[in-house]
Structure formats: structure tokens, C-alpha cells
Symmetry: C4
Subunit: 223 residues, 4 copies
């Protein structure tokens, strides 16, 4: 995926269109409200180039023309007035450490709640669900996925650094949560990253709703 | 529904278009996230031919052109590079045992939760809801539907076999759940199978939400 | 609203198009799943003619061409093979007793649950919500709306009769629930009937979710 | 933003189109059911002119042509038969006191429930969520937002007056709740007001669902 300028331009155009479509779909589901969340796709590995969603844009109306081309220092290369998301450094961290082809960050009600309820545990263990088989490389529902939770911060360099440590300590993880700040997942390409997001959002909602009902059941037995 | 090659081709084209439309609608409702779930329709009985959704495709973007024609050994006959869903054997089992014209498998948050809460009971009893009248052959809300729950497995032959036993032991059942893996339902044609899925998804959400509220009420009384 | 044949034909065409649009919108919200629910609009008062949704049709795909013209004995007058909903008698009852111009019947998860939880009370009292002001003739949120609950039955004549009594005993009511069978509301025209349905569905969901949280709060205080 | 007649006409046309699009989107999410809620945008400051949603219209079908131009006494200037929302006085109050460019009022299930649960506290404290950073001028999730709750009334002058006091007493607030009547938020323009609404609706749903789960947890510990 090294790229000549013309290859980069062509791949960038395709990625920008896909990012726009995914953003609208996720916004409709309530996963990117209030300009939250951000999306990226690798356009070239050498030199490293990302198609990156801009900062402060309504994701329900994100157009391909608003998507930015950035380099590995998060500098904008495309001919835009837009500003890349503050979290571009986090996307770059994941792209480098995981050799990911795409990174998606959603901010749903359920991922916010679960990141809060399990903050003290440092992560969430998910096991025994068929849906886990959709994660890259997983062959059985008996897989145990550990979804780490990272303390939130407004210092993006510090956050990128703690994210780097978490990725390094959890080499099998397919995603991570920022405390009360949402979910990051990634994949070898945009299609896989989107699949991973849908899987984690499904599983977190399932865990949250099960927690409600099951704890009530356990409460009855204890009384 | 025996078919000459040209009848099969014509019926297959119609079925593929319908499967695409149903897949998009169910994906929008969150019932087929993360490439989960699969869909089929019988195109011919003699020889047995199924229109089958491919493996690993985003159901929100499933096109008619991606749908596969398979035979009764789950071999692909159509001129595609696609791979049929691993669960094609389960679809074939239902088609044969129930003389079904279509089989749909959804993987929703509520069907996952309910398959878990009632796993110890071996199934879920649903009774007294008007919505039950929408199941084929049912004339009154006083009907009692038993929705069996089957242990999940990655061995598709074993799973097809246990599904066969469950179908045989529950000749009146209109659907079944795989534990933490979703709902299977079927019908004499795609329209009826879609109706059955909508009915079961409705009833499972209703039971799940009622369980939350009612157990709290019973808890109050017991205390 | 008395009608010559050509006036009836023209009004029927408009009503059929509106019923199709409302059906699709309500189906998308999950209020008409599994071919449940039905919709009607008065096309003429003298003679009494209703535009009526047919039985057994997927409401997400209801076309204007499928809507039936029926008389006051629920006989089909239009040139269709379709069968009117079994509940046409209930629509006619409401049209006559309330001088309604349109009747809508939705079957949502929340209206099913609330009709069950309050079945022993014979109805649900709703008071103090601004949303109540959207009901015809209501000027303040301090209004108390009594939403009666009727025992479900498969005998449509008996059900029409008990509905008639309930309407007579509750002359101020803007809607009613059938036990585990859904909501009926109506209005002077389709627009008003749709507004009433949206208001009741909103209020029932609000009451259901509040019940969950508040009973837990009361539980804490009692312990 | 002072305006000549032709500037006003041009800005009004743009605002009306945007209000129509936002109304349809919010109605689809269930935030404006039953003709509830209303929307406005400032078209000119000197003289003060608002594009205002009309009273009693289905927000899912609000067209740009139905939007009204009103002056600072809530009198309709445009050539319409429509009646502006009764709550136009509240919009004008916010526009003047906050120098807002747009005001949006949604009426969702979660904002209704939360306005009720916290009515005794006089407001809701929201702190520690990344989503808060989307509110104008907020730079960190450590921000504490106080969302005041005002007693509901049908006397619009009295309600405008109590809203004025609340705005004055809470100069940092980005929104407020009317008890069992919905959310008001605003922004320097429509885009910002829409962002604020999405943020508050997200946070109120998150708080409501967290309350359910966490109180159960605290209940267990107390027992």
C-alpha cells in the first residue's frame, strides 16, 4: 500500500466516500451524536497517509469533500480549510501499533455506560457469545475478549501514550474503551473496522441489558 | 416447485432481490449486525435449490448479485466467488424437516439475552399474546408457543443434528433459539418467514422488558 | 362528508395513499410488526364508506392499491381480491360511536407491556404531562386521561360490543387498549388520529420506563 | 445580522429549509412526536426577525413553506395562514437573553423522565462526560453542567418570565428542562443548537439508563 501521488489521490477519494457513508449510518444509530466520534482509513503506508474525518462536523452530514488527507504528524495535506479531529494522534497510534487499515471511534450511550460501570476493573471481559466470531481471527464463541478501559484525558499526547501502552499490554485486543468517552476499534480495512464496531456495540448493549435483569435475579435469591 | 433450469433462474433472481431487501431492513433494526445472521429461500424442490446469503458480507449492503445458488449439499452452483454461510447446513435441515420455503436467522440483542436467561429451561414458553396469531396455523392468542433453545456449537454437522432432533421433538414449533447465537424461524415462503421473525423479535423484547418490571414488582411484594 | 360515487372515488384515493404512508412510518418504528395492527379512514358518511387496510399484509410494504373500500357491514366494495382486517368491525364501532374520521390500531412493545401491567386496574391513568395537550380538546397538562383496557377476544362481534360499552362508559377517552393486543386511537381525520397514536405511544413508553426507575427508588426507601 | 428586506428574505428561505430538515430528523428519532416541540432561527437582529415552526404541525412532515417569519412580539409577518407555536415567547426570551441565533425544543421520552425524577432538585448536574466538550466554550470532560428544571405552566407570559429568571440565575447553562415538557437548548446558529440538543439528549439517556443499573447495584450493597 505504498503510493504514488496519483494512487494516493484515487484511494483517498474512495476512502472519503466510504467514510462519509459509514458516518451517516452510525449517526443514524445514535453512535456519533453531537459531532462526537471520528473515522479514518489508511490511504498509503509509505509515505503514511490517512483519510481523516474533520473536527466539529455533524457526522450525519459528513460529505466526502470534507474528509481530510493527513500525514503521520497529523498535518493536513489536502487543500482544505478543515481541521482534523483532535484525536488524529490516537488514530495514528493504532494504525502504527496494529498495522490497521482503518480506525473507527463511536460514542454510544451503551459504550459510555459500560465504560463507566467497569472502570474499576480496568476493562470488560466478554465471553461465550457467537457474535465474537466476527472479530478478526476468532473461530469460536468460546473466545474470551478483554476490552480494556483507559482513563480519559484532554492531553492528546498523554492519551496516545497510554493508548500505546494498553495496545502493547493487550496484543490480542480488537478494541478499547476510553472512560465515558467511547469505543475505538480497527481492522485491516474499513469493512472490517465497521464490522468490529457493530460487534462491540451489539455486545456492550447485550451486556448492559443483561446486567439489569440478572442482578435483579441475583438480588431476589440473596434476599 | 420442481424446476427446469430456466424456471430456477427466474425464481432465483426474484428470491435474491427479496433476500437483499429483507437483509437491509433487518440490518437497519439491529438484527443482523457485524455480518451476523443469514437468509435463504427455496428456489426449487426437485432438484433442491436454495438462494443463500453469502458468508462474511455486511447485511446492510447485501446485493441481489451477491446471493448464491446452492444445492442440497450446500455446494455453490452459481457463478460466484462467494462462499455460502457456514450455517447453510442448518437452513437445509429446516427446509427438509419442515418443508419450509424460506429460513431466516436473526441475531438481535433481545433474542441473545432471552436465549441466555432461559437456557436452563431448555426453551421459552410464550402464551396469551395476540401477536401469536400471526404464526402460521394459530387462531387465538390463547395459544402456547414453546420456543426451544439449543446449545451453541462450532461443529455445523453436530449442530444440524441437534437441530434436527429439536425439530422432531417439537413438531409444532415455529422457531428456535441457539444459545447466545440468535433466532431461527421459517415459513412456507419468504413473506411468512419474515412475518414470523418480526413476531418472535417483538415477543422476545416484550418478554425481556416485562421480566425487568415484573420481577421488581414481585420483589416488592416478597420483601 | 356525504358522497357521490365520484367524490367517494377521489377521497378514497387520497385516503389510501395516506394510509400507506402512515403504515410504512409506523412499521419502521416497530408499531406494526408481523402484519399486526390496522388502519382506516372514513371516505363518506352517507353512505358510510371506509378506506380499510387489508388483512395479512406486511404494513412496511402496504401500497395504496392494496387498501380496500368497505361499507358499514364490512363488505368489500372495491374491485380487490383482498380481505379486510378481521377488526374492521371494531373500526366501524369507533367510527359510529365517536363520529371519528379515522381509526388507527398499533401494536407496540410498550403498549403491550402496559396493557398487561395495568390489566387488573381496568385502565391506565395518565396525568400531568405536557404531551396530553396534543389530544383533541385538551388545553392543559393538568388533564387526567383514563385509557381503558379491554379483555382480548377472538370473537369480533363480542369484542365490538365490549368496545361499544367501554366507549359509552368513557365518553372523554381518546383511545383504549386491548389486553396484550395493542392500542386503538382515533380522530376527526387521519392527521389527528396519527397525532393521538404518537402521543399515546410516547406516554406509554414514558410511563413504562418511569415505572422501572421509580419502583426501584421506592423499593430503596421501603427497605 | 441586521437585515434589509431582501437580506431577510434570503436568510429566511435558508433557515426555513434547515428547520424543515432538522424537524424531520428529530421526529424520526422520536424527539418531536405528536406535534410536540418547536424550532426557530434568527433571521435578522435589527429588526429582530425569527423563522419559527408553526403550531400544530406534524414535525415529520414540516416543509420549508410552512415555516413562519415572526417579529419580536411573535406577530406573523409572512404571508401565511399558519399560527406560530404558543411557545414563540419562550424562543424570543432565549434569543434576547442569550443572544442566541437558534433555539430548539425537543420532547423526548428520556428528557421527560429525567425532568420528572430530578424535579425536586431543581435541576440535573452532569459531570465527567467527554460529550460535554461539545457544548460551546467547554474544553474538558471535567466540566460540570447544571441543567435547570422549570415548573411547567400554560401561561406563556409567566413561563417566559420564570425562564428569564432561570437564564439570569444560571448564566453558564447551555439548556434547560420544563418539567415533563421537554428540553430547550440554543446556540449561536442552527448547527450549534442542533449539536447541543443531540448532546443533552445523549447525556440524559445515559444518565437515565445508568440510574437504573447503578441504583440496583447500590441496593445490593445496602441490603
Amino acid at each position: 500500500m505504498s503510493g504514488t501521488p496519483s494512487q494516493i489521490a484515487s484511494t483517498f477519494a474512495q476512502s472519503a466516500a466510504s467514510l462519509s457513508a459509514i458516518a451517516k449510518g452510525f449517526h443514524a444509530r445514535g453512535w456519533l451524536l453531537g459531532t462526537s466520534g471520528n473515522l479514518s482509513a489508511v490511504v498509503s503506508r509509505d509515505p503514511l497517509r490517512l483519510a481523516m474525518s474533520p473536527s466539529g462536523i455533524d457526522k450525519g452530514e459528513l460529505t466526502a469533500a470534507q474528509v481530510l488527507l493527513v500525514d503521520e504528524q497529523a498535518q493536513v495535506l489536502s487543500d482544505h480549510r478543515g481541521k482534523p479531529s483532535d484525536e488524529t494522534l490516537l488514530h495514528l497510534r493504532i494504525v502504527k501499533d496494529r498495522e490497521a487499515g482503518a480506525v473507527l471511534h463511536t460514542h454510544s450511550v451503551w459504550n459510555t455506560i459500560l465504560s463507566d460501570l467497569h472502570a474499576g476493573d480496568g476493562g470488560i471481559s466478554i465471553e461465550g457469545y457467537e457474535m465474537l466470531k466476527g472479530l478478526a481471527g476468532i473461530r469460536t464463541h468460546e473466545h474470551r475478549e478483554w476490552l480494556p478501559i483507559i482513563k480519559n484525558s484532554q492531553d492528546m499526547s498523554a492519551l496516545a501514550s497510554s493508548m500505546g501502552k494498553t495496545l502493547s499490554n493487550n496484543p490480542q485486543a480488537h478494541g478499547l474503551l476510553l472512560h465515558r468517552h467511547g469505543l475505538y476499534s480497527w481492522g485491516s480495512n474499513l469493512q472490517e473496522a465497521k464490522r468490529h464496531i457493530e460487534i462491540f456495540e451489539f455486545l456492550l448493549e447485550t451486556l448492559g441489558r443483561t446486567l439489569e435483569i440478572k442482578q435483579r435475579l441475583s438480588l431476589r435469591k440473596e434476599d
